[in-house]
């Protein structure tokens, strides 16, 4: 079980690096916002898995708050790009 969690963390770290590269390279504002959205979802998954590693039940609340509030920033940026804020 320990090696499975190691492999999962290596995959998530590689995903963070690729999303950050797309955030730096992206030609338009939409690409950077997509990178922010993907980083948010990978962050929620990493928070849940870290809560399992630390064996604390209370730590899952942080991932819950992030899953609830994480999309508001993307929606506000999208409404600004649309011109209808």
């Amino acid at each position: 079980m320990t090696y499975i969690i190691y492999i999962a963390f290596i995959f998530m770290a590689a995903g963070l690096i690729f999303s950050a590269i797309r955030f730096v390279k992206g030609p338009t504002a939409g690409d950077r916002t997509v990178a922010l959205d993907t980083l948010t979802t990978i962050g929620v998954a990493a928070l849940v898995l870290l809560g399992y590693v630390f064996q604390r039940f209370v730590y899952i609340d942080v991932a819950l708050v992030y899953a609830v509030l994480g999309f508001i920033g993307v929606i506000v940026i999208a409404r600004y790009l649309e011109g209808a804020l």
Binding site: A8, F11, I17, S19, V34, D37, V44, G51, F57
Partner: protein, 121 residues
């Protein structure tokens, strides 16, 4: 190892693999809409699978895992749809073949948009 731990480990491996593939799709796809497809749908599946796997590993955490899955399942498509709509209205059109232009023009009359000349940045 019990049967729940085996199921949880397999779900965690599938979820982390799909998270990595979603990020790789963001890095390699050529267009904004293709990046939205890769970055939102694959990532939604990966996140839901990984959180469900953690719920199988610790069965007393299953209720909170299901709540997180519900929030991921409604918040990711909302942001994806809002972003695609905003990019279409700004005048960034998808990479498309010439014989398929008419289908996109049929949708263009439904949604108000900017033309190429009005759009500067």
């Amino acid at each position: 190892m019990s049967i729940l731990e085996i199921i949880g480990g397999i779900l965690i491996l599938i979820g982390s693999a799909f998270l990595f593939l979603g990020a790789l799709g963001i890095f390699r796809m050529p267009d904004v809409y293709n990046r939205l497809q890769a970055g939102t749908k694959a990532t939604t599946l990966g996140g839901m699978s990984l959180v469900l796997g953690v719920g199988f590993l610790e069965p007393s955490w299953m209720l909170k895992s299901l709540i997180i899955i519900i929030f991921i399942a409604y918040s990711n498509p909302i942001s994806s749809h809002a972003l695609a709509r905003a990019m279409y209205r700004r005048g960034h059109y998808p990479l498309i073949k010439d014989k398929d232009k008419e289908k996109m023009d049929a949708y263009r009359e439904v949604v108000p948009h900017k033309t190429k000349e009005e759009e500067k940045s």
